[in-house]
Structures are given as C-alpha cells and as structure tokens.
C-alpha cells in the first residue's frame, strides 16, 4: 500500500492538513489530523485565593498550565478514578476482600501534591492510599494485584490495601493518626542528612483531633522540621461529619503557632500552587506548615459503607456535577483550546485498556506460596524457625 498525500489546503480554522490515503486494495481511508500548532501551548488560570493563618503572603493566585502538564494531570487523575472504580467492581465480585478505602473524588489532592514536590521528596499518608501509591510511581498492575493479594503486588501480596510502599513513600498506615509522627520523623531525617528534601504527612479530618498529631506539631515547630502537614478534609470521618467531631473545623488553624493555608482540594492547580509555596517555605528552613485541602469522596468510608446513611445522595450528586476535579480540568483545557475532545477520548480509551489489563493480571496472578508465610519477619537475619499454631509445627523464615 502506498499513501498519496493530497495537496494541503488551508481551511477556515487554520493550518489543518487533510491526508487522503489510497491503499492498493482500493479501500480509501481518510485520516484527519490536527497539528500541534493548533493548540494553545499554555494558559494562565485564576485560582481561588487561599485563606491564611499566621502568614503574610500565600500561594500565587494564578497558575500557569502547559498543554503537556494538563494532559499528564488528566491522564493521571483519570487513571486513579478508573482504578478505584475497578477496585470497587472487583470488591463487589469478592475478588478483593478485607479493607478497601477508595479515593475517587479526591484525585486533585494526590495529583496536585505530586505536581508540586520532587520525586526525591517524601510522602506518608493514612489508609486511603491507592491514589498516592500511584502518583508515587507504582503501576496500576501492582496496586490491583496487591489489593487482590497476589504475588505480583507491590508488597508481594502481604501488605494489602493499607500497606503499599514505594521509594520515598511510606504507605499506607492502618492506625488513624499514627502516620503523622512518622512523617515528622522522616522530616527529621531529611534535616539530619541535610538533603533539602521535605516530607508531606497527610491525615484526614477524623484524625485531626488525635493527640499525637499535636505532639508532632510541637516537635516539628520546635526543631523546625521540613514537614508539610496536610489535612484532607473530605467533610466526614467515617460516618461522622466534621461539625459532630471537631470543636474547631478550621483545620488549617489547628497548628496554632504553625502557619496554615486552606486550599480548594478539588482544583488541581490550586493544590499545586499551595504545595509549591509550602515546600519552598520548608526548604527555606522556616519550619513546618499546615495545609487543609477541602475535598470530597464519592464512595463511602470503605467498601462496607454505602455512604448514604450520614449524607444524602443529592449532596454527592451535586459535588459530582459542580466540582468534580477531572471534569474541571477537562473543561479548562477544552475551553482554552489546549486539547481536543477526540484526544481526551483517546486518552480515556487507553486508560480503560490499561486498567482492564491490570485487572486481568490481578485476577490471574497466583497468590504468594504458603511456604513464604513467615518470610520477612526480621531484616538481615539468618534463616530461622518459627513456631506454628501448635508446638509441633515449625515454619521456616527467611529474611
């Protein structure tokens, strides 16, 4: 077959080239392409001003978004969304069991944070961790396989939903609030080693009242640790709304002597600008900073919670239609001619395929073998025997 290009004609909307291909067999294929010159390379957006606590200046009120960045953010957020929905589906089919806390609705938080920090910075979060696991570099295959408890999972099937680890990502923690002192400890290590890295320690509105968080605030402020404490306020701690759990719902002010910023967590650009500001603050040696991201989760607390007994379906629908982070980004890009509808559709199709493949892998991969049950109890230890369920059963353990 050979391709015969037609003469390029200039069309009203400028610069498009239409190519007509004639194949040997006689079929005609028309391929319509638009060149890159068609799209706006970058645009500047006004973003919501952040409320500040003990700060004179806050993050920038305009954000510049390039086309590449926009497509990348869209791709990442859409992947997270589809991955969580696939996890929902697999859970209902009882292929995923145990705990499963889904992140859909909050994608802008994970994407915005990752866009604003370096890959060498550190991050730790609580149990709603699948989104962060993805943004920190773990593939969808490994995440879904870990959820189904298979060998190909990121923690070899031994960690599950709440214990996924990656380089500079410390999980995934099951105990509410315990990850915050851990995050402050990672920040201490960054300061100790003098490597100009920061640690982002996330917690929810439910955890925000934990005593150990205030203990961490105290030590972080005392020692000026480069730690960004972020409260992802999705309005509900399990089934308890913030008004019913907290005497003060201004979580960005709860750091008291620590400066705070309140950020619209449904706008990825707003989150990105705020995190950049916070990271600069910490890297300059000014000490920790508290951020509150106002966001929303569409699913219930976990898969065992339908999510409608403590809030109304109308509320969820309203947020979905008015403030969905992915829709917001898509509309911004389309209205500023930064992408086309077809392009976005292509990305969606690609992502669907990736998720399907990953789900297939997660279902078909074998479980870890039983003789590996007792491995990894200790690090760098000689092989040892572990008592089984009764004194006559001995299991092998290798580091």
């Amino acid at each position: 077959c050979f391709i015969v290009p037609a003469a390029s004609t200039s069309l009203p909307h400028g610069g498009a080239v239409r190519m007509v291909c004639r194949l040997v067999m006689g079929a005609r294929m028309v391929v319509s392409t638009r060149s890159f010159a068609d799209f706006t390379p970058q645009a500047s957006f006004d973003i919501k001003k952040c409320e500040l606590h003990r700060l004179e200046e806050g993050p920038s009120e305009t954000a510049v978004l390039t086309r590449e960045q926009g497509l990348q953010y869209y791709r990442t957020m859409q992947t997270m969304r589809r991955m969580e929905l696939k996890a929902d589906q697999l859970y209902k089919q009882k292929i995923i069991r145990g705990f499963c806390h889904l992140y859909d609705g909050q994608e802008a938080c994970a994407m915005g944070i990752e866009a604003g920090i370096n890959p060498t910075d550190h991050l730790i979060t609580a149990y709603r961790a699948h989104g962060y696991t993805f943004t920190r570099g773990v593939s969808v295959r490994e995440i879904l396989a870990e959820l189904t408890g298979r060998r190909g999972g990121v923690a070899k099937g031994k960690g599950g939903s709440m214990h996924m680890y990656a380089k500079h990502f410390y999980g995934g923690n099951g105990i509410v609030g315990a990850q915050v002192p851990l995050g402050a400890g990672v920040a201490l290590a960054c300061q100790y080693q003098g490597n100009n890295q920061v640690c982002v320690a996330l917690y929810g509105d439910g955890a925000a009242n934990q005593g150990q968080i205030f203990e961490s605030f105290n030590m972080a402020a005392l020692w000026k640790l480069p730690c960004i404490f972020i409260c992802e306020n999705n309005k509900f701690g399990m089934g308890t709304s913030v008004e019913r759990s907290s005497a003060s719902t201004e979580y960005f002010k709860r750091g008291d002597y620590i400066p705070g910023i309140k950020v619209d967590g449904m706008d990825v650009l707003c989150v990105r600008e705020a995190i950049k500001f916070a990271a600069d603050h910490c890297r300059a040696g000014k000490g920790p900073i508290v951020m509150e991201l106002e966001t929303y989760r569409y699913h219930g607390h976990s898969m065992s919670d339908p999510g409608v007994s403590y809030r109304s379906r109308e509320e969820i629908q309203e947020v979905r239609s008015k403030s969905d982070p992915i829709t917001m980004l898509k509309e911004r890009m389309l209205s500023n001619n930064m992408a086309s509808v077809e392009e976005i559709k292509e990305i969606d199709v690609e992502i669907r395929k990736v998720i399907e493949d990953a789900a297939q892998f997660a279902i078909s991969d074998p479980e870890p073998p039983l003789d590996e049950l007792c491995n990894h109890i200790f690090a760098n230890n000689p092989p040892m025997e572990v008592r089984g369920t009764n004194p006559w059963v001995k299991l092998k353990s290798v580091s």
Partner: protein
C-alpha cells in the same frame, strides 16, 4: 596513678586491691593513659579480670562507641542531653556529640517514639529512650507497629531502631515498677532483650544498634549502679554450673537466682543459673526446654519475672519442692516440670 573523679588519690591498698565503685573505665583519655597502662600491667600480673564497670557505664560505653562508629546513629528521649540522662546512662554524650545527635524531647512519648520510627524509615538508626518502660505504654502503638512494617512491606522497609529504658522493679516505689518484657515479647517482629550484667548489657546494646530490626532493650534501674567484670570480648554465658535444677531468668532476677542457688548449695541441691535466654520471646522457650531435656535427669525449669523480695520466696519454694515432692523424670519419658513464678496479679503501672 588511679584517681578519684574529684582528683584525689585512692589509698594504696585500694589502688592495688579490689576495684572501688568509683572506678569508671570511661574512655581512655590522654590524662589517664599512664594509669590505665599501669592498671593493665597489674591485672595481668595478678590475673584478675581487667575492668570493673557498672551497668550504667557499660551502656554509656556501648552508645558512645556506636555513635562514633556510625553517623546515622542518634539518641532521643526525655532528659538524655543536658540532664545527662535521667539515670545518667547518657552522661557526657551531649557534650561530645552535640544537639544534632543527642536530642532532648518534650514529654510526649507517642510523638517522639513515632518520630524515631519515622527517622528509621528514612535511613537513620535512632536509639529511642523511654524514661521507664511504664511510660512506653503511651507509645506502645508506635513500638508494636514498627515491628510490622518489614513484614507488611514484604522486605521493602526495614526499621533499624532501638527502644531503650529501665524496666521492672525499683526501690521503695509502688508505681512505675512494672515489667513489660512479656508484653513486648509477644509481638512478632520485635526483638526483646533484657540483660543482667555489664558484659551482656554492653554487648547486647551494641548488637541491638547494629541490628536492622526494631529491638526493645530493657535494663533495670537497680542494676545500673552494680559493678561487674567486663572483658574485652562480650559473650553471654551460664552464670553458675549445676546438675540438678536449671533456673532461667532475665534482668535483675538473675541476681536473686544466684543468691538462691548459693543457699541451696548448702542443702546439697546444685542449681544451674542461666541467662542464656536473654530474649523474652515466648517462642524460644520451646527450644530451651528441648535443650534441657536432653541433658538432665531431672529437668526443672523455673522462670522468674520481675518482682521484689522473690529471693526468699524462691528459696522457700525450692526447698519445699526438694524435700517434700520427689519427682523423678526419666530421660526416656522426656517429661518436664515447668514451674513459673511471676508478679502477683495485683496492679499495673
């Protein structure tokens, strides 16, 4: 020659004879090099053990050597820096290493234990001191969950941390005197050690700091001031040989066992006192029982947990058993009588 800490000299008989309690090996500094050399020479001549060091100073030495050896090691806890340690275990370390490596924390156990574990995640090797192990209850979640991380990450995230502090009975107190060896010993993934003498304390602390796993290191406050011989090499050992009964204990109660053994020896009952099982892990019990079965005609195992005045009870108890109850265990039957004594189930905290 040897000097007291305030600069005055010991009388000659003390210098040449039994080591005094004020004798502190410390570090070999230029000003005591000559006296140290003379000490060594004298000891070699008289073939007594080289040094007498109390447990507190042995721990101090261990930490000093490890801090020097590895930049990533640091100490944090309440009063460890400027106060020289609540029990003076970290005396002199802050002056030597400074604020960066010896960190005073506020009185917030859960917070600073979590910070220590987080620092271990990110590649440092913290020593987290609890003023006593009773206060670790405030932070028990962080200690226990540090042990799960290596397993749950399938080997991806080791946690090389040591939690240290005094444990168990103290003098004249009604509270803050509980022993937590059994509590922590039940946690998989956590190594729990509870040494008795200076040699074991020093060796185990060094091993604990170099270990890539979370280690719970329990000392005993009343043992801190007790001097022991300290050799150059550090090896755990059987403290007393005996053929009839094996007494196994940890921490301060080893001393009680030795006292009880001395009394029983007069009655003709030879006790072996062993601190071989330095770890309070329950699952190692089985291994030790098997060991005893193999080479005892009458295998009795006695476990002692921290409590006061147990010595007297122990002597009475053993005397009662030996006199009134004759249990003969044949080698073939491989039966074992396991008697466990412990604190009265009275109160916690």
């Amino acid at each position: 020659m040897l000097h007291r800490r305030d600069g005055s000299r010991f009388p000659p008989d003390v210098t040449l004879g039994i080591q005094a309690k004020e004798f502190n090996l410390g570090f070999i500094r230029p000003d005591n090099l000559v006296s140290h050399g003379l000490r060594v020479f004298r000891c070699l001549l008289s073939s007594v053990s080289l040094f007498q060091v109390n447990v507190q100073d042995a721990l101090n030495q261990a930490m000093d050597e490890e801090l020097e050896r590895d930049e990533r090691v640091f100490l944090l806890g309440e009063e460890v820096a400027q106060y020289d340690g609540a029990y003076k275990v970290s005396r002199g370390l802050w002056k030597k290493y400074g604020d960066k490596r010896i960190i005073d924390t506020p009185v917030t156990e859960m917070g600073f234990a979590g910070i220590a574990v987080g620092a271990a995640f990110a590649g440092l090797r913290p020593i987290c001191e609890f003023m006593t192990w009773n206060f670790s209850m405030q932070a028990i979640d962080q200690v226990i969950n540090s042990a799960k991380t290596y397993y749950m990450s399938a080997g991806g995230q080791p946690v090389p941390i040591v939690f240290r502090g005094p444990n168990g009975s103290s003098a004249g107190k009604l509270t803050n005197i509980y022993c937590f060896a059994a509590w922590y010993g039940h946690c998989p993934g956590l190594k729990v050690v509870s040494p008795w003498n200076s040699e074991d304390a020093r060796g185990l602390l060094k091993a604990a700091i170099r270990d890539d796993n979370p280690v719970v290191f329990k000392a005993n406050e009343l043992m801190y001031g007790v001097p022991f011989d300290l050799s150059e090499e550090v090896m755990p050992k059987v403290e007393r040989q005996g053929a009839h009964i094996t007494l196994v204990s940890h921490s301060r109660c080893v001393g009680f066992c030795l006292d009880a053994a001395a009394v029983l020896a007069k009655e003709g009952v030879e006790c072996e006192v062993s601190i071989f099982t330095l770890s309070a892990r329950v699952c190692e019990l089985a291994t030790f029982q098997l060991q005893v079965k193999q080479w005892r005609r009458r295998g009795w195992l006695l476990f002692l947990w921290a409590t006061n005045k147990l010595c007297y009870f122990l002597i009475f108890f053993l005397h009662f058993i030996c006199t009134y109850i004759s249990v003969s265990v044949s080698y073939d039957q491989k039966e074992l009588l396991d008697i466990r004594t412990a604190t009265t189930h009275l109160k916690l905290g």
